[in-house]
Amino acid sequence: MTKKSYRQAVNEAIAQEMRRDPTVLIMGEDIAGGQGGTAGVEDAFGGVLGVTKGLYGEFGPERVIDTPITESAIMGMATGAANTGLRPVAELMFVDFFGVCFDAIYNQAAKVRYMFGGKAKTPMVVRTMIGAGLNAAAQHSQTLHPVFTHVPGLKVVMPSGPYDAKGLLIAAIRDDDPVMFLEHKALYDMEEDVPDDPYTIPFGEANFVLEGDDATVVALSRMVQTAKSAASGLAKDGIEIELIDPRTTSPFDEESILESVERTGRLVIVDESPPRCSMASDIAALVATKGFKHLKAPVEIVTAPHTPVPFAPSLEQAYIPSEEKVDAAVRRVMS
């Protein structure tokens, strides 16, 4: 057990699965070479943010495929490879690029098992970077998880830290269905204790990051860390929140949230996405339909505004749900 970063946890998950299972391969833009087109194997940077470092050297060009800049080909290739017996882990460098390859994902990969009556499967993983905070501007900072969550046949995973990232990615690679694995780019440097051995975390099982009786706070991905920071300020004033990280939006652990709201009666949802058709609105509706009688106050949602992600740093910081906004929302739901 050692302290590892989110980036290292993802790298380790891929490496350990590639060692265990020769049908696992990875493909994507710059996943071998990385920044600036480095030449030899020893130099290989491994992805624009270094996440796939070392894999080319260990597994070679047949299993670590640097692709041209053509997402439609990458995802089409991955879908076909998955349908014919391989287990590809394809990288969509920024989730914002999904537009040019979405057909392969939602209309092919997600539908194969159903439309072939179970006679074919698509065991592929699409790893992709989401989220704002690195000043990457409107076309490189979205989260877009509601879009994928909406599609039956796609699994959607949003790890909030290194320990979860490794276990969920190993589970995703072993899963026989197409999985969207959403890595928040602002979390790559986060460190925590991660076991050296391989392990899996099941999908559809929320994590109770904090336990408390005053208010239920549901948060996703980086927002889990934001809510955790807000929790310590709230605790000083005697407010103990129950912080739930669903880990996966599809399949989704409804039961844990409903059970928690039954006890606390108060719900705050923190979702780094614009509010229309978001996970925040989805979860609020879930509780309003199935847990209405337990609510002591209206549901509070803390989301990004309905705008593109700004490039100006001050505006980008205003866009991202902050610790202060979470704190204020919890106090409102308690009053």
Binding site: M1, G167, P195, D197, P198, T200, E205, E211
Partner: protein, 360 residues
């Protein structure tokens, strides 16, 4: 004579950095005996009671309730009543906290070695003529000994290891199916580590392993100290084992963990989360099922000839309920008010029993 004895915040396990004082059990001026409960301390992993390592009069309670102190910080001072207050004041004022560097700590560290085709993680602490080997129980790991090992490391070479399938040791048991198999693996470890003979301390399933080791290789075992052991004919609570294996989430595992202790409030969220995380590791579920089957049928070992055996058992043990007594040559001690974890719930009694084995 006129010695002043500092009581410091203990370091329970390698990860502990600080502790919070919950409650003092002795007031200033009180006379306390060695082994007596002194103070309840809460860490992120567990809440436990620090017992006095020596008798004396409590001259100063330096640590305040609800305050957090780093490991090594002075929290109380014991001395005889004839030591002047001025001396006590001077001692407190001049006390220097030894804060170990996180990287270059001269304290114990995790090590690994390969033996019999398996990787073992272990912690080695202390030096001395005698070697003490600690074997944890079902689903446990070497950290279970964190309250007991440091005390004994003061005067002996101590080694606590992760049994195959547990902690950070290999999770693939190979052809190991039972405690005899684990004992063979432990023997291979001893050979690889160059240890000819050791005082073996075993808890629960580890006790069964210790008995099997003593039967198979008696020349390696100087003495046995068994805590709530499997393998002496007491029936193991198989429902507990099944619940332990079945629990997938903290909510399910918490009551299982609480059943281990006479006082369930010592179980922290972090302790339960660590058990859940251990169970997620590849291969662990298989290991636990295999060993649970062996424990259901643990048998009754004979006392190994020529090897002194002490057995300590908590009266409130719900996992391996204690017998009324054990025949000679087993030296049996029943500890009142203690559950299945005497090495955490009755630290002084356990360290004293092991120390006595080493002395004799």
């Amino acid at each position: 004579m006129s010695a002043i004895l500092p009581i410091v915040m203990p370091k329970w396990g390698l990860a502990m950095e600080e502790g919070r004082i919950l409650e003092w059990h002795a007031a200033e001026g009180a006379e306390i005996a060695r082994g007596q409960d002194l103070v309840d301390i809460e860490t992120t992993k567990i809440t436990n009671t620090l017992q006095a390592t020596d008798g004396g009069t409590v001259r100063r309670l330096v640590g305040s309730v609800d305050e957090v102190y780093p490991c090594g910080a002075l929290i109380a001072v014991l001395a005889e009543p004839d030591v002047p207050d001025a001396d006590i004041n001077a001692f407190v004022d001049s006390f220097v906290v030894v804060v170990p560097e996180t990287e270059d700590d001269t304290g114990p560290e995790f090590k690994t070695l390969e033996a019999g085709g398996l990787r073992f993680r272990y912690v080695e602490e202390g030096e001395g003529q005698e070697t003490v080997l600690f074997l944890h129980g079902f689903g446990g790991d070497l950290l279970n000994w964190m309250f007991v090992q440091p005390d004994l490391a003061a005067s002996a070479r101590t080694i606590a290891l992760d049994l195959p399938g547990h902690g950070a040791s290999s999770k693939d048991l190979g052809d190991i199916k039972d405690m005899e198999g684990l004992a063979r693996a432990v023997a291979a470890f001893l050979t690889a580590a160059g240890i000819e003979k050791a005082h073996v301390v075993g808890h629960s399933m580890g006790g069964g392993v210790a008995l099997a080791l003593a039967k198979a290789e008696p020349a390696r075992v100087a003495s046995l100290t068994l805590l709530a052991p499997a393998g002496l004919g007491a029936l193991v609570n198989t429902q507990f084992l099944a619940d332990f294996i079945a629990a997938k989430r903290r909510r399910q595992m918490t009551p299982v963990a609480e059943a281990l202790f006479a006082d369930p409030s010592v179980v922290s969220t972090e302790m339960v989360e660590e058990i859940i995380r251990f169970k997620r590791l590849d291969g662990v579920e298989e290991v636990l099922k295999t060993l649970a089957a062996a424990l259901a049928d643990a048998g009754r070992a004979e006392a190994p000839a020529g090897i002194p055996v002490r057995v300590l058992w908590g009266s409130e043990d719900k996992i391996v309920p204690p017998p009324a007594d054990l025949p000679a040559p087993f030296a049996f001690t029943r500890i009142e008010g203690v559950g299945h974890m005497p090495h955490m719930e009755a630290v002084a009694a356990v360290t004293e029993a092991i120390a006595a084995q080493i002395r004799s």
